[in-house]
Amino acid sequence: MAEKLEVKQGTLALMILRTLDVLGPLHGYGVARRIEETSKNRLTLNYGTLYPALLKLEQEGSIVADWRPSENNRRAKFYSLTPAGRKQLAHEAREWNQTADLIAAFLAPRTAGEAP
């Protein structure tokens, strides 16, 4: 079984925004499943982590929520991205990529000619 990872501070919001961007309006369960699947089940999201994060994004105005029937005709709360959320996603994705590049460059294996 793959190693389990903790959700890193700040990354969860980015994952949620991206999920809603790719899949469109989705309920909490769907978001959780998608994130777990994308991480190849290395991440598990309990409710106490997921729902406060959703509420926080809602308070920030990045997403909105409304009640709709779900695929199997159950009432569920669906979250969808707002224009502000889309902007935030772009912004944070760019920052994240830059950071990742930077860290990658730092951690790159030593090349010849460099001091030991």
Binding site: T44, Y47, Y51, P52, S70
Partner: protein
């Protein structure tokens, strides 16, 4: 922006409906769980296992809901609101505890807030003057009573101005009294004659009009006046149209040019400030050139880069040069000296000791009340241990419990603070009148924001102290406490020691306060028992100067003097006709008041020993009836007679002190004395020899605690009618004569200001009153402390008894009788009491040395007071111990053992 939105959303959530949000959340989580279960079933699990698996993965629905709720609103606000609600409910349940704590704290906080306001207003607050901390007051003094500040002469001011470069500017002013004639009455006003640079140096600005400037100096200018803010409000009701008006002062028209901002004046109060031209005397050659003609006060501003130390060194050097150059102006025996004092300190010097004493006493009361409240809280804490343990067991962390306690204690102390501020409002009003006797800054005392922050800081500190004194169950020890059944009423040993220590401290501090109160009370009693030197108190004196010297124009004064004396004759004559009046006399100064005029004295045939200080005496004049009317006893010789007039031989009557000085062991009658000194040139007084015809007893002219001064009386008829006071003696109730006397005076001299109408009893009382207030305040604090300490010791013992009920029950069933149990508890209290007493007496021994300066007629370590205080505290302490001891003795072993 995003943060703002979040904050807004969360704050809104505090107030909007939460129930529907909670329902929503529950539905949402439920839906999530069901979807997860359904998914698990689809993967082939049994329904039960599928649900269990989903639940496991959820991490707990309640916990999740809790986290979401925390994100939704502002959890700390909500929980603090809940804490406050809980605290008030808990406090309302234990009413007696709450009442005692709140009242104790209110008294402590009230006293401290009030006295802090006064200390701040009078001693600490920056002066209202621009850069007021750069102002220094210069004081010249010599040895002898009444010589602590002899002011400066104009040449001395010049020398210091030219010599001391560390002083950027020197403001000169001369306190003076002028008669202000309004439409229907004449009043005396206190003024300062100032140089044009006065306001600039002092850093004062006008609130209206302009202030004096250098072009107002010298002769040949118009007399102008600047009103002080206080007088403007008091006399003219703050009327802005006063500027430009002409007022009639001393027969001259003087233009009001402005009103100056509120500020304290020193050493005397001032109603108005005028340029010098109003007084011929102040612009005369005598005044301007006479080195010994000392009438000018000096306040200087330190140069921008100069320090106080530099100024002191420099002024001292200039002064030494002056003394070397003008030997005749500085009699070596009088020890002339100069001091440079920050103006703020000079303003506060008379109030300082009294105020710090009061502040110290108030702080002591605060310590005692805090100790009591801590003790009460500790006891209550023990009773609440059960509750706190249960809360801890249910998951409340130590921090959370601490916060609950803190909120509860804040509710207590802040309630106390609110009540305390109410007490302080009343207290400040009373203290202002006390402070006004000591300080020109009394009108700067306000219960302002700084004082209120002080109160807030004080009550918050107490609340913190209380919260951390309480015992909290530590995590990890819970199980043992819960399983022990939580009935550890006695509390830990450490805590008991703390409680006992607090009681000992309370008793010790009370003893210190009581000792102070005792000494001050004895001081007051001693003072009022000092004989005034007068034979009776049925004496009324009226100060009514008919001859004005304000203009300083001696040439035209002879005629005015004749008219004034005729006026006094008529007044004496008419007042004598009032039924009940026994005698009416006239003199320059009323009895028991210091004369403003002092000169050096020489005796015929006596020379000063080398290094002996030049003797001074107060100059007073008296008519033939003055001594009999005032009740001043004649010791030797005769009183003045009607034949001691102008043209007849110069005669004087001296008091006992002056007689002892020049003629110890001799009969002074028939010997000759005379005034002397350079300064006589500037006065209408001659230095001729005068024959002593009588010796009279000393009187307490400078107040009940003053050293007796030498006095030389001259016949009222032989000299100018300076001052002018009527002295009236009646057979009884002399105070009732005041209206009739005032009417007569007013009819005969309608334009003369009647300055003071006072009975001897009133004058005496005025001199004792400040000490009485001191003694009363400290006694009040002392009694407060004792009551609180008594409650403290009784409370701790009562608590100990209730904690030991079981033990006492066992003892009694094993044969201890009631007496023995009672003795046991008394002994427990006795140890505390004795320890407190010993510490307290030791502390008082140190503390009372500090107030030496406030005592009169009693030593700081007066054994009588100390013994009295110790006995009083012991008696109160024993009574306080007796109550819980009796209760212990009444314990029924059968009942306690069964419960």
């Amino acid at each position: 922006m995003r943060h703002l939105r979040t904050a807004l959303a969360r704050i809104t959530a505090l107030f909007t409906g939460k129930r529907s949000d909670d329902d929503d959340l529950r539905d949402e989580l439920q839906a999530h769980l069901e979807m997860a279960t359904a998914e698990n079933i689809r993967r082939g699990m049994q329904p039960d296992a599928a649900r269990r698996e989903a639940l496991l993965a959820s991490g707990g629905l309640t916990l999740a809901a809790e986290s979401v709720r925390a994100q939704r609103g502002l959890p700390w606000v909500e929980s603090i609101a809940a804490d406050i609600k809980y605290a008030t409910r808990a406090l309302r349940r234990s009413r007696a505890f709450t009442a005692v704590v709140v009242i104790t704290l209110a008294l402590g906080i009230g006293a401290n807030t009030a006295i802090f306001s006064v200390v701040r207003g009078v001693l600490l607050k920056p002066l209202p003057h621009r850069d007021g901390n750069r102002l220094v007051y210069l004081r010249q003094s010599t040895d002898g009573p009444g010589q602590s500040s002899v002011a400066f002469s104009v040449p001395e001011v010049h020398d210091i101005r030219n010599g001391a470069k560390s002083l950027a500017g020197i403001a000169e002013y001369s306190p003076w009294t002028l008669t202000f004639q309004s439409d229907n009455e004449a009043v005396h006003i206190e003024v300062a004659l100032v140089t044009g640079n006065f306001f600039d140096v002092m850093g004062l600005s006008p609130v209206l009009g302009r202030l004096t400037r250098p072009s107002d100096d010298g002769t040949g200018v118009q007399p102008v006046m600047v009103l002080t803010h206080e007088y403007w409000m008091k006399r003219f009701g703050g009327d802005p149209s006063i500027v430009g008006k002409q007022l009639k002062l001393e027969g001259n028209s003087v233009t009001v040019i402005g009103v100056v901002q509120p500020a304290p004046y020193f050493p005397d109060r001032a109603d108005a400030l005028l340029n010098m031209v109003i007084s011929k005397h102040h612009t005369s050659a005598q005044m301007v050139q006479g080195r010994t003609h000392r009438m000018t006060e000096m306040i200087a501003r330190l140069a921008p880069d100069a320090t106080l130390e530099q100024a002191r060194t420099e002024v001292a050097a200039v002064y030494a040069r002056m003394q070397a150059e003008f030997k005749e102006a500085y009699d070596p025996g009088s020890h002339f000296s100069i001091a440079v004092i920050p103006f703020k300190e000079a303003l506060g010097e008379r109030a300082r000791l009294t105020l710090w004493l009061l502040m110290g006493a108030a702080a002591f009361v605060m310590i005692i009340s805090t100790a009591n409240v801590v003790n009460l809280t500790l006891m209550r804490g023990v009773r609440r241990e059960h509750e706190l343990v249960v809360r801890a067991a249910l998951g409340a962390g130590v921090l959370r419990l601490r916060r609950l306690l803190l909120v509860e204690n804040l509710v207590l102390t802040l309630t106390g603070a609110v009540l305390g501020v109410l007490i302080a409002i009343g207290g400040v009003r009373m203290l202002i009148s006390l402070a006004a006797r000591y300080s020109p800054r009394a009108n700067e005392i306000h219960l302002d924001l700084v004082a209120l922050s002080f109160t807030l800081a004080l009550s918050t500190t107490v609340a913190l102290l209380l919260s951390f004194a309480a015992y909290l169950p530590k995590e990890g020890t819970l199980a043992s406490i819960v399983s022990a059944g939580v009935r550890r009423m006695s509390g830990s040993l450490r805590k008991q020691r703390l409680q006992r220590g607090l009681v000992v401290a309370q008793i010790a501090v009370s003893v210190v306060l009581l000792a102070g109160a005792g000494l001050l009370t004895r001081t007051m009693i001693q003072l009022s028992e000092v004989s005034t030197g007068l034979k009776t108190e049925e004496v009324l004196s009226v100060q009514v100067p008919l001859l004005a010297l304000g203009g300083g124009d001696f040439e035209h004064i002879a005629q005015a003097d004749v008219a004034a004396k005729q006026g006094y004759d008529r007044m004496q004559h008419e007042i004598r006709a009032i039924p009940g009046v026994i005698e009416v006399g006239v003199g320059s100064t009323m009895p028991l008041r210091n004369s403003d005029v002092q000169f050096d004295v020489k005796a015929d045939g006596k020379s000063l020993a080398a290094g002996e200080a030049m003797p001074h005496a107060d100059l007073r004049t008296a008519g033939p009836e003055y001594f009999r009317a005032a009740g001043i006893p004649l010791l030797k010789g005769r009183l003045f007679a009607a034949t001691d007039r102008r043209g007849s031989g110069n005669v004087v009557i001296i008091n006992q002190t002056l007689a002892d000085k020049f003629f110890p062991g001799e009969d002074p009658v028939g010997k000759r004395l005379g005034w002397t000194g350079d300064v006589l040139r500037f006065t209408p007084i001659s230095g001729d020899w005068r024959t002593i015809v009588g010796v009279v007893g000393n009187t307490q002219d400078g107040g009940q605690d003053a050293q007796p001064r030498s006095v030389m009386f001259m016949p009222f008829a032989q000299e100018l009618a300076l001052g002018g006071s009527l002295v009236i003696r009646a057979d009884s109730n002399v105070a009732a004569l005041a209206p009739a006397v005032t009417r007569i005076v007013h009819r005969i001299a309608p334009t003369a200001p009647i300055e003071r109408v006072m009975t001897v009893a009133q004058i005496k009382d005025q001199s004792v009153a400040p000490r009485r207030l001191n003694a009363a305040l400290i006694s009040l604090f002392g009694s407060l402390a004792v009551i609180i300490a008594a409650v403290g010791i009784a409370g701790v013992l009562a608590f100990s008894v209730s904690a030991r009920t079981n033990e006492i029950g066992i003892r009694m069933s094993l044969g201890a009788d009631r007496g023995r149990v009672q003795r046991m508890i008394l002994k427990e209290g006795g140890v505390l009491l004795v320890t407190g007493l010993v510490l307290g007496v030791g502390g008082a021994f140190f503390a009372t040395g500090v107030i030496r300066g406030l005592l009169f007629g009693v030593a700081p370590h007066d054994p009588g007071t100390f013994v009295g205080v110790a006995v009083m505290m012991a008696v109160i302490g024993i009574v306080a111990c007796w109550i819980p001891a009796l209760r212990a003795a009444r314990i029924d072993p059968a009942i306690t053992m069964r419960s």
